[in-house]
Structures are given as C-alpha cells and as structure tokens.
C-alpha cells in the first residue's frame, strides 16, 4: 500500500517535471533567434507581406503563453501539430525517428554493458594481467576519440574497402561503434564498483562459508552491484537516445537526435518541441524504470526501510 503510494507519488512528480520541461523547452526554443518565416525568406520564395501572413497563419504573432496553451492543449489530445517546414505530421516524424533511436541506444547499451562488464570481471579475476591497462585505454579512447572518427574508419573498412556491409540501412556498425564508446564510459565505474563489492564483508562471509567462486559472483556480488549497473545504464541510456547524432549523420540513420537538430536549424518549432519532449519523456521514463528496478533489486527500498 505504502509502497504503491510512494511509486505513484514519484511518478506524479516525474510527470510534473515533464510539464516543467515542456514549458522550459517551449521558451528556449523561441529564444533562438529567427523563425521559420526567415527560413522561407532565405529560400527567396516569399515576400515580406507573405512572410507576415505566414507568421500569422502559424500563430507566431500570439503571445508565448497563448502559443504554449494551444500547443499543450492540442498535445494532450494527441495532436502535436504539423511541421512548419514540411507540413508533415509531427507525430509521424517523431514516431518515425523513435524506433531507430531506441534500437540504436538500447543495443549499444547492451553491447557496451556486455563488453564493459566482461572486461571488468576479467580484470578482477586476473588482477595481475594487463587488463587493467585495457580498461584504462578503453576509457581514454571513449573520451578522446569522437565517434565520428571511429565511424568513418568503420565505414571505410567494412563498407568501402571490404564491402561487407552497406553504410545505410544497417545498424550493426553504428551499434558496435556506439557500444564500444559506451563500454569505455562505463568500464571504469563498473570495475570500481565490482572491486568494492568484492571487498564487501558479506563476500568474505560467503567465502568463509566455502562457496564456490561462481556462486559468490552470481548470487552475492552481482545482485549487490546491480543497483549501480542499473543506475549507470539509466544515465547512459538517457544520454544515448538523442545523443548519437554523429553516428546518425554518418550512417544516414533517421534518429530523434538528428530530427531535433535539423528542426532546430530550420526553426521548426513544433518538431523541436515534440522531439525534445520525446527525449525528456524518455529520460523521465528511464528514471521511473530505474527507480522501479532499484526497488525490485533491493528489498530495503521496497519495504520502505529508511537509512
């Protein structure tokens, strides 16, 4: 009961947060100088009179509150409006971009976790090997080498020279490239966490019981490290959806990040708002899921234990 109330309260707070984010984004978007009419003017197909008419028809003359209200009201009814630039349905555009982004982000996270986790476990298992150096290198790699460098090398090697994979219409290479980057970001904290868990007194207890290594690792260490892994995954996932712009650009992937960027460039307000809202909504969803997972993993949280 009590727990359900907590979860509900948490979710409501998150929803409120999304609303705040929506308004903040709405304001920010309009703070960007220039609007869609400028865009048309740049193309030279409209005269001043027409531009004003266009602005009026798009509601750009109304007050910001009016615009936000209209957008919010329609949004609640599932109508995100039309792209000012393309006249296409914004929901279609966002829904068209989401699957690619989610698939790319999810799979990259999986690859990154798998790679990072294996490396961290291996480094723990063989403390005297060179794996520690590998962890360090992978970490530096992900910080210092932009993904567009790895991306272009991947394209050259696998698509242009070897011709194993096309550049467009495949996700294998992008997932690998982003996955390695993710692995580089998480391998160090993962390693630290696993190391700390390995030193926890209850692991010593488990050893003193005469349990096998694998049982200790599987039943004692992993569950206790899981919270950190979940938290880490949440943060990474939140940043990945919409954050894989360079890879999307290189591989011609229609992701939500590219959609947002192009919309920002084109001052296509409804699309920017919808795309960024989708991102914010996703981040919030990830937060809620992470919190739920934490409760599932840790009975202390589920039973409302304080401290």
């Amino acid at each position: 009961m009590h727990d359900a109330k907590n979860v509900l309260g948490f979710s409501l707070r998150q929803v409120f947060k999304v609303l705040c984010i929506a308004f903040a984004i709405f304001l920010l978007v309009r703070a960007v100088p220039g609007d869609i009419a400028d865009m048309y003017e740049a193309r030279g197909d409209y005269d001043a009179q027409q531009l004003e008419a266009l602005r009026a028809s798009l509601g750009l003359h109304d007050s910001l509150v009016q615009q936000f209200g209209r957008w919010g009201w329609n949004g609640l009814h599932g109508d995100l409006g039309e792209s000012m630039r393309f006249g296409a349905s914004v929901s279609d555009m966002v829904l068209g971009a989401l699957p690619t982004s989610l698939l790319l982000a999810g799979s990259s996270l999986a690859v990154g976790l798998l790679l990072g986790f294996s490396l961290a476990v291996a480094a723990l298992a063989f403390p005297n090997s060179r794996l520690g150096g590998w962890i360090e290198s992978l970490n530096i790699w992900s910080i210092a080498v932009p993904t567009f460098c790895t991306g272009i090398l991947g394209i050259l090697a696998f698509s242009v020279w070897l011709k194993w994979l096309p550049i467009r219409g495949q996700l294998l290479l992008p997932i690998l490239i982003v996955g390695i980057d993710v692995a580089g970001q998480i391998v160090k904290p993962l390693y630290e966490e696993l190391k700390e868990t390995a030193q926890a007194p209850f692991v010593r207890t488990a050893r003193a019981k005469g349990l096998s290594r694998w049982r200790i690792a599987w039943r004692h260490m992993l569950p206790n490290s899981l919270s950190v892994i979940v938290a880490l995954s949440g943060v990474i996932l939140g940043g990945l959806v919409g954050g894989t712009l360079t890879v999307e650009a290189l591989f011609g992937l229609p992701g939500i990040g590219s959609l947002a960027l192009e919309a920002i460039r084109g001052r296509d307000y409804p699309v920017i708002q919808a795309a960024v809202m989708a991102l914010a909504g996703f981040v919030v969803l990830v937060n809620v899921l992470t919190a739920a997972l934490h409760r599932y993993i840790d009975p202390r949280l589920a039973r409302g234990h304080q401290e």
């Binding site: 723990l124 403390p127 712009l245």
Partner: protein, 291 residues
C-alpha cells in the same frame, strides 16, 4: 576499513609494481602548456597558409605530419591550435565548474526552495544529451569561439552540479560539519571552510574528465559546421576537417587524434595525482592499505 581488497576470483597474489607513468603525463601536460604559450614562436609555417597544389599529403620533410585538404601544414596547425584548444576547453570547463558546482553549491547552502529550483533547472538541462544541447545552443548563440565556450560549458554544467550536491550532502552529514555548527559557524562559513576544500578533489577529477570532453565536443560542433570559424585551427576543428579525407590523408586525422588521446590520458593521470596530493590522508591510506 576498506583495506581488504580481496579478490574472490583469484588466490592471493602480490600486486604487480606499476610503471611510473605519471612523469610522462606531467611531461605531456607541461609540453602542451608550453606549446600553448610559446607555440607561435616555434612555427616555421603559417598554419593558415594554403597550398592548393599540395593537398592531403602524407608526412614529408617539408610537412612533418602532412597536409590537410587545403594544403595546410598539419604540424603547424596542431601547434598553433594548442592554445585556442586549451583555452576553449579550459574556459568551458571553468564555466561548467562555476556554473554547475557554484550555482549548485549556492543552491545547496541557501537550501529550501532555492535549492529545489536550481536543481530543477539542472534536471531540465540534463534531459537533453550534452551534444544535442551544445549544438542547439550554437544555433541559438551563433557560431564563434565565445559561443563554443558557452555551449560546451552549459552542456557540462549539470555534471558538476550533481557532483557538487553529492559532495555537499556527504560533507554536511560529516561529524566535523556538525562540530562546526556547534562551534557556531554559519552555513557560508561551513561551506568555505569545510565543504569547498573537500570538494576540490572531486571537482578536479571532473575537470580532468570534462577538459578533453570539451575538446571532442568542440570537434563534434565543428563536424556539424557549428564550431569556431572553419579555418581556425583548433584540434577539434582539425579532426572534424580531416575526417572527410580520412582515406586520402589518414595521417591528417591520426596525428590530431593521437595528440588529443595523449593529452586526455595525461590529464587523467595528472588529475589523479594532484587530487592525491591534495589529500592529507594519502599517507595514511597508503599505510592502512597495508595494515
């Protein structure tokens, strides 16, 4: 005590002695700083001079690291770009630090609604991936060096803000802060005397991470045509320009990336060392690790 670093995976073994890498790291960082300050004097070639007949060349006697797609000398550009690269990265990190940790800390000290408001702001900023956010900011601010600093700095603010909050909470829960309160110290005095100094280490680690990330973020901005002016040689811009010619002139991509990776590694190592030196407990830690 966390002195038992028992590895359950292996039988007890002696740790391998570690190569003293940090001197090399100091060297790289020092050299970068020297180049940043005196680099202009070292140049024998104009980093902006184009030789449209010598485009995308590999390393040679005339061009040690080859040329880019405009026939500009990569070595000259790397050297000349060091200063602006470091200045941009440093100022962006500083902005992120001051804006993130500073604002966060002030919010924490004032507490209550202010704190909630400040962190709600950071929460909002954080919903956008840093790359997308800085690109959006570049569109809003217009291209140019100061915009890059602002865009990258703002994008990294939440990172510092959350670390600042975590450290603040940890410090406020400590016995010595309780002791300071009993002595009669006010919140600002406590923040200055106890929280801030103890925050330094954590912030330094973040800066060591953010500094190279600022360089790569700047290169991503350049990749999307939204960085500093296109001919200005920053490392990020050099990398972004060279990517398109990775096949014709691989060295023009390789060398700047190597330089960046080396600097990143060195900064991480130096950051670690400096943090260790800031910590008066290190001697004890080293001892208790064996006690």
């Amino acid at each position: 005590m966390s002195s038992h670093s028992a590895s359950i995976m292996s039988a007890p073994q002696r740790p391998a002695p570690r190569f003293r890498l940090h001197w090399l790291a100091y060297g790289v960082v020092g050299l970068s700083l020297l180049v940043a300050v005196f680099g202009a004097a070292l140049l024998t070639q104009d980093p902006l001079a184009q030789n449209l007949l010598a485009r995308n060349l590999g390393p040679s006697a005339a061009h040690w690291l080859g040329t880019d797609s405009f026939g500009r000398d990569i070595a000259a550009r790397l050297v000349a770009g060091t200063r602006l690269t470091l200045v941009v990265a440093f100022l962006a990190s500083l902005l992120a630090l001051l804006g993130g940790a500073g604002l966060g800390l002030i919010g924490c000290i004032v507490g209550g609604k202010t704190r909630a408001l400040v962190y709600a702001g950071f929460d909002i900023v954080r919903t956008m991936p840093p790359i997308l956010l800085s690109l959006a900011l570049m569109v809003a601010l217009g291209v140019g060096t100061s915009s890059v600093i602002l865009a990258v700095g703002i994008a990294f603010m939440p990172l510092f803000a959350y670390v600042a909050r975590a450290v603040y909470e940890r410090e406020m829960a400590s016995g010595y802060v309780a002791a300071a309160k009993v002595i009669g110290a006010g919140p600002w005095a406590i923040a200055c005397r106890h929280v801030l100094p103890n925050m330094l280490g954590a912030m330094l680690t973040q800066v060591a991470i953010v500094l190279p990330r600022a360089v790569t973020t700047e290169s991503v901005l350049s990749f999307f045509g939204l960085g500093v002016a296109p001919e200005v040689p920053t490392w990020g811009r050099i990398i972004a320009t060279s990517v398109e010619f990775a096949e014709q002139a691989p060295t023009s991509l390789l060398f700047p990336v190597l330089a960046l990776a080396l600097l990143t590694l060195s900064l991480a190592v130096v950051g670690d060392r400096v943090r260790m030196h800031l910590d008066p407990l290190r001697a004890e830690r080293q001892e208790t690790a064996h006690a």
